[in-house]
Symmetry: C2
Subunit: 147 residues, 2 copies
């Protein structure tokens, strides 16, 4: 069982996609994260669901719990409206050191180790310059526990 | 809208639960993570799904992609069988510095900031010594985007 056997088609967003549209895709399809692709449809970055929240939450609130606490609900709604006017590229957090991407011949253990290390519940399977699809944590666990 | 309004009942595992049973619960119910409770049913640690993988993947494979690569499928199955003989407590990774727990009056923005910071798609809502339930990333996003 290799990555190529586990990969399934997975929706992607572009760097120019509106950040609100990206958040709606994640929520609407209950995805574990988003694959952001470049103009050549190759993974540019892979955002776990929790990091997609960074698109919506102001940086000063992310690091300081006390600040998040004092902002009232009316202001919180304002931040979300701002998302519609910004692209994914404009909201991206600092890129991860390691991209959650594997080659088609990666083993189940290799994928599991990468997910644990990068804390990404989603890895893209890339063959040279072509993305074959993605493996989710749920799909990987189902496969590991079935054997 | 506060944490208490968003909290829903969520399955928990104990420190003495078999690690295999914990992994099966995560996979079987497609949960975003596990809440590990102590003897008093209070959250001891909250494991995002990707960190539950650490229960199953040997430490030396997690940090060294080359080692994960050379272990063949037969050996990978052996690691999973070992899980049945170990408890969650025996497999737990180093505890996170910050527990993904909020008070019942936490705001939506506060929960979102905590999820982004701890990289946990799941927070427990705790009132003093009692766990009221949990808020998942999906539920939080649905609430944020509905407004």
């Amino acid at each position: 069982m290799r990555a190529a056997d586990l990969a399934v088609s997975y929706p992607t967003v572009g760097l120019g996609t509106s950040a609100l549209e990206a958040a709606r895709l994640l929520a609407g399809a209950d995805l574990p994260g988003l694959i952001v692709v470049d103009a050549a449809e190759r993974p540019y970055t892979i955002l776990p669901g929790t990091q997609v929240l960074r698109l919506a939450v102001p940086a000063y609130c992310q690091e300081d719990p006390a600040l998040a606490r004092v902002i009232d609900e009316a202001h919180a709604d304002t931040f979300l409206r701002d998302l519609a006017d910004r692209t994914v590229a404009e909201c991206l957090p600092t890129p991860e050191r390691e991209l959650a991407v594997v080659a088609p011949d990666a083993t189940v253990l290799e994928i599991a180790a990468l997910m644990a290390r990068t804390r990404s519940p989603l890895v893209a399977v890339v063959d040279g310059r072509t993305m074959l699809g993605a493996v989710t944590l749920d799909a990987l666990l189902d496969r590991m526990l079935a054997s």
